[in-house]
């Protein structure tokens, strides 16, 4: 009797999981690749963007521009909107600063800039001039900050990191100056 029930269950599960396998295969998303689009002329010319020197806000109302002045062994970076200087930093000549593509917050009130100095990458959020990268390193000394990519909303910066051997994402909230770990990674 037990053997019979076992055989029946075994047969049921073989059919069930076999059917699930077929079902999942048919539902598998097969996105079109360039190889599939034979009759469509796909773009071959890619115009490279140069985001480092200036960036207009997503609504077009503000433009952040970076100006550099080198004197001796130092370079001063000034970030301006129209004629207003919003942030400046003086660094050794071999350092570099730039304006990320998603520099402006959605409400145009905040922005962030990137600095590379002696192999260390920093990100400054303005106003406030928080060095978000340094704050993160202090809070999570064993984690690696990979990139700050942009804004999830008007005060939340998105940080992509590697922590405990896994890729993860955090928000940095300018308002509360706190880090919030997210359940999803934002690639």
């Amino acid at each position: 009797m037990v053997k019979r029930i076992f055989r029946l269950l075994l047969l049921f599960f073989v059919v069930f999981f076999g059917g699930i396998g077929v079902f999942l295969y048919t539902q598998k998303d097969q996105p079109k690749t360039t190889a599939d689009l034979e009759n469509v002329k796909l773009p071959t010319v890619v115009v490279a963007e140069s985001p480092d020197a200036s960036q207009t806000s997503p609504d077009g109302k503000r433009t952040l521009t970076m100006k550099t002045v080198t004197s001796g062994d130092l370079t001063t970076y000034s970030f301006t909107d129209s004629s207003n200087v919003l942030f400046t930093k003086t660094l050794p000549k071999d350092s570099k600063m730039g304006i990320p593509i998603n520099t402006w917050s959605p409400d145009d009130k905040n922005f962030f800039v990137k600095e590379t100095n002696s192999g260390v990458t920093n990100y400054y959020a303005v106003p406030g001039e928080d060095n978000v990268a340094d704050l993160f390193r202090q809070k999570y000394p064993t984690a690696t900050l990979q990139e700050i990519t942009g804004w999830a909303d008007r005060t939340l910066l998105i940080l992509n990191v590697n922590i405990d051997g896994k890729d993860a994402s955090f928000w940095y909230d300018l308002a509360s100056k706190s880090f919030i770990r997210l359940s999803n990674r934002f690639n």
Partner: protein, 219 residues
């Protein structure tokens, strides 16, 4: 084992699989990119005094002045000398949109495609353009309610019909373009969506400007 012993579990197993398949098909056919608003209201909707909700926080939508649009359109487009068919391409892998007229690149821009639901791939056509509309969807912590979503261009094809509500549109609630962020739509910076909106053809009986979406987003 008797014949009944063999046929009964096979029948039960296959029935379960068929039931799952039917439920899945139902879910796919009733899916809409914006799960609440979907394509219920296809009139232009301008709500300048409304406040939106996104990520559990209030969001202020852009003010829209429809009377200024006609003048804006010519300023945004500038001189147009290119000839040929217009065609939009969206590369999900690089999160980049290219708009071509013939062999001339009209614009290139970073976008944010589906994070919470994949943006569909294939060849589509824009079937309606709305200067602004309200988009509502999600639930719980993911709930969003966004008035004055600007420069909306709904697209579809036979496999991804208009009822599924996928569109290209401006997004004023985040600035993380170049990375998947949406529930399936193609989010654009407002200035980019505006430019594309005025450039695309008005949809006719056989549809509007073609849109090809390809590749695989890193989500």
């Amino acid at each position: 084992m008797s014949r009944k012993d063999v046929l009964l579990p096979i029948f039960l197993g296959l029935s379960t699989v068929v039931l799952l398949f039917v439920v899945s098909m139902y879910k796919q056919n009733t899916f809409c990119a914006n799960s609440v608003s979907c394509v219920k209201n296809l009139n232009v909707s301008v709500e300048n005094d409304s406040v939106g909700i996104f990520n559990g926080r209030e969001v202020t939508p852009p003010k829209i002045d429809l009377t200024a649009d006609a003048e804006r359109a010519s300023k945004v487009l500038g001189d147009q000398t290119a000839t040929g068919e217009k065609h939009i391409y969206v590369d999900l892998a690089t999160q980049t949109l290219y708009a071509y007229q013939g062999n001339t690149l009209f614009m290139q821009a970073y976008v944010s495609t589906g994070k919470w639901h994949p943006t569909p791939t294939g060849d589509f056509k824009i079937w309606i353009k709305l200067r602004a509309t309200r988009m509502t969807g999600g639930s719980g912590a993911d709930f969003y309610d966004l008035p004055n979503v600007p420069f909306v261009m709904f697209f579809g094809n036979a496999e991804v019909p208009a009822s599924m509500g996928f569109s290209l549109h401006g997004a004023y609630w985040h600035d993380n373009f170049g990375h998947p962020m949406s529930h399936g739509c193609v989010n654009m910076r407002q200035v980019d969506a505006e430019k594309l909106f005025y450039w695309t053809d008005e949809p006719g009986a056989s549809g509007g400007t073609p849109v090809t979406i390809y590749g695989q987003a890193n989500i």
